[in-house]
Symmetry: C2
Subunit: 266 residues, 2 copies
DNA sequence: GCTTCTAGTTTCATTATGTGAAACTTTGTT
DNA sequence: AACAAAGTTTCACATAATGAAACTAGAAGC
């Protein structure tokens, strides 16, 4: 539904989103079933997107899937527009120091978008994990960012939550979450106390600009079988140090506006 | 240039590509300078793309950069359309067994698109992450795939190469590369003998379908200071085993066509 | 302080593009 | 062979994109 009369580009992108949403290759007829567009129109969109390699088409199976051009474009986006490249060395240090799973996330359209990660051991950073989205209202990183959002934006963001009850500890309405956000704001860090997945806990901190706007958030994740929230709280100072450092770098950096063109060359 | 009268969506995506190509935030006027579109038209495209979060706009600096929506979309593309998820366990095994830098790449529009990577225990400092693109004619993975392309597609691909001389070992014309490709085809694997970057060498193998079509390629990278091509050639059997396994999995897998529907609702 | 220039934004008549019902083709089924 | 379902093409029509020109905001010059 929706699909405001926004223009052709918007409609095409909506179709793209829809295809991506399936999480697997989809046939034309499936897409047609829950599409607001008539057959010919949808068909033409798919043709266009496929021609642009934003979708790929498997002729044997007659299915569409998101295309590789997206992967290239996203690499540029990730590198230029996310916190990840700036935060990278800091995540490395933190991860090495603590040996725990670290997540770096940003708020995107009311949802948590993970942009980098360090596994307890491997130093791989890629959007095999980056690009994943999650709910804001029941994750450590999400709540950490929400807690520092100006009222207007917070109201917006809260509107966009699904309030689905993932576990019996999930906050399922704006009112109770607002209470939690106040506590987080006072405390400076948030917890995820099995609110999203049973057994999974985390501590998270926002990354703030000097003016207090949240740029992203940082978290350490563990399990109830390995540790407890009380124990994890002791990591707060280390996390805070890292979050501050990233925030500082992000502002300094905020684009030296060097005329660095050359890139892919040597 | 280019910008065939393809339709609005194509034009908008062309603008998006262009912005991404700068590798840094760009001002409107810069884009205007090398844009085929008049001011008002380009302006409207940027507005549309920004509104769709395919671009992000920094009001302070008046600059555009690729937007975060791409990162979400790409995650779906990477997961569904690339070889990476299928190859993952195999890369893990291979990387652990050899302890060297492993790359997994695919051919995308005549270029090499890296879709996964494992770092060496002693990591070589090199650029490469998922989404990164590189030339096909002077990389191990690129040549491995080209060598197994059917003539028509090969001709196409060769047209798209820049033939830039990166080092004095780079093949800089189709004719000499074709000779190399024949040798690679006969041998079953390719080398990169410092053809792209001085001091960087690699051995690569194509990942083939049972019908012999290249799906991707796999490589081990190292440096001339640590090893030699002769020595690396001994890794060929291990690589081959992995490449075969990935190819097999990719075909078997080729989508169980489960009727898993439900997703976003719930 | 006023003028001129430049970069960015808006307007609006014109034109090109996108739209979708319906006809058609291809592929699979009984 | 007849039928049905899925996918593709056509074409009169409506909508949306186009871009020259007018406008506005800021910066640089006088």
């Amino acid at each position: 539904m929706a699909a405001a009369g926004e223009g052709t580009v918007a409609k095409a992108l909506e179709v793209l989103d829809r295809v991506a949403g399936y999480g697997r290759p989809v046939k034309f007829s499936e897409l047609l079933d829950d599409s607001p567009y008539p057959k010919a129109t949808l068909y033409r969109f798919l043709q266009t997107l496929t021609g642009q390699r934003m979708l790929s088409y498997d002729p044997d199976r007659g299915t569409y899937a998101p295309g590789m051009r997206l992967v290239r474009l996203a690499h540029a986006a990730w590198q230029q527009s996310s916190l990840a490249p700036i935060a990278r060395p800091h995540l490395d240090t933190l991860s090495e120091r603590l040996g725990e799973t670290v997540h770096l996330a940003q708020l995107d359209n009311g949802q948590v978008l993970y942009v980098d990660k360090r596994n307890a051991r491997t130093p791989v950073q890629m959007y095999s994990q980056a690009g994943k989205v999650g709910p804001a209202y029941c994750t450590g990183v999400g709540k950490a960012m929400l807690a520092f959002l100006p009222e207007e934006q917070l109201a917006d963001a809260l509107e966009q939550q699904s309030w689905r009850r993932f576990t019996d500890k999930t906050f399922t309405d704006p009112a109770s979450l607002r209470g939690e956000l106040l506590r987080i704001r006072a405390r400076g860090h948030s917890f995820d106390d099995e609110e999203h997945e049973p057994g999974i806990i985390c501590i998270a901190l926002p990354i703030l600009t000097s003016s207090g706007r949240p740029l992203g958030a940082l978290s350490i994740t563990s399990t109830t079988s390995r540790t407890s929230l009380a124990e994890m709280e002791q990591l707060a100072p280390a996390l805070n140090e890292t979050a501050q450092a990233i925030g500082r770098d992000a502002e300094d950096w905020a684009f030296p506006e060097t005329q660095t063109r050359a890139f892919k060359g040597a």
